[in-house]
Symmetry: C3
Subunit: 150 residues, 3 copies
């Protein structure tokens, strides 16, 4: 379940929260939609925009199909074939260059509208944390911008 | 012309709107800048930030050159060569894995500043809806965050 | 040092600013984190969300590791190998198609939380302007959304 990293007394003026997750493989997509929804409800956020930000450089975040797990399997496969883990031209000494490349291609944040306290996503959409150098313990920071009157 | 999917009485507190478009080919970039500008004007949005969000998993959105159509032609060509439509390693049964991959690479939302009721873009920039599994009827959700005083 | 492109009297209601930079090579990643931090301090922004937007179509922006310069070297190398500068299928007459492709893959904006007047980034993260068609004089537009009370 979603662990709140930041409580109200740490950020009196900023509606921020976060979640922690443990990944199990070197590369995997973890559907975090239920945990984001839980954060929204715990904080009483209703109408506005949610940003989910990944504070890591070997992981990303994307919105993709959540219904058929073969979709993210195929995306991971294409990334692995296109961005090889081992390449003689890589200089980075830690050996995880491919994970950094994948992270920058997928991006470090997503945005999603909130409506009546629910994430407003398309029919097939889910939010995925994209692990590219696991298994690791990871975090996602979440912020909320309440809607203003037009 | 831009069709407003959501009226004020559906979202009393959230400045949101949307547009619908029909794509004509399997893969194409549609310049939606004029329709976004129309939504901005219809809603009287003046100063702030606009987010355009694609609620689909086989389409994306990007900001690219709008002057020379060869630019988006070349981007589509590179994506097609790099992410083949047919690949024996794909598992997803619907056969549109390539479209899902392209969608996650391009991303599901863009942000753009608004200044005096106009989209504030660079000289050559335009906002493109990126169809990767058309032809289809598609939607773009648009939200507006009014600026606050510093 | 960060040059403020927009002063308060140009945008009375919008906390916006910008920076200018000159790039030295055709492709390079420039760490602009200190300059973004400088803009935050000059403007007295404290709690909220910062957006950095690149108004160009042959440059992008990404958040990546700032500690080991080999990481961005490796990302640039992969992009160069995967998106060749010269390709017989390119139509765009200016000859910089590869730069446009790279820009759309990396994206035109990043978001970052602000906490007590500081960019809130992960331990290894830095914000990089991604030049793909330099050397050129470039701009980054920066906007700030102050946090509201929950």
């Amino acid at each position: 379940m979603g662990t709140l990293l930041k409580n109200a007394h740490h950020f009196p003026a900023v509606p921020q929260a976060g979640l922690e997750l443990g990944t199990a493989r070197r590369a995997e997509f973890v559907n975090i939609t239920p945990r984001l929804q839980e954060i929204v409800q715990c904080n009483g956020w209703k109408e506005g925009i949610l940003t989910a930000f990944v504070p890591h450089t070997t992981a990303g975040i994307t919105i993709q199909e959540g219904a058929d797990p073969d979709v993210v399997y195929d995306i991971l496969g294409w990334l692995e074939r296109t961005i090889p883990w081992v390449d003689p031209s890589y200089r980075h000494g830690e050996g995880n260059t491919a994970a950094h490349i994948k992270a920058s291609l997928l991006g470090s944040s997503i945005r999603c509208l909130l409506e009546e306290g629910r994430l407003r996503l398309g029919t097939w959409q889910a939010v995925f944390f994209c692990e590219f150098d696991g298994p690791r313990n990871r975090k996602v920071w979440v912020s909320f911008e309440p809607a203003s009157s037009p």
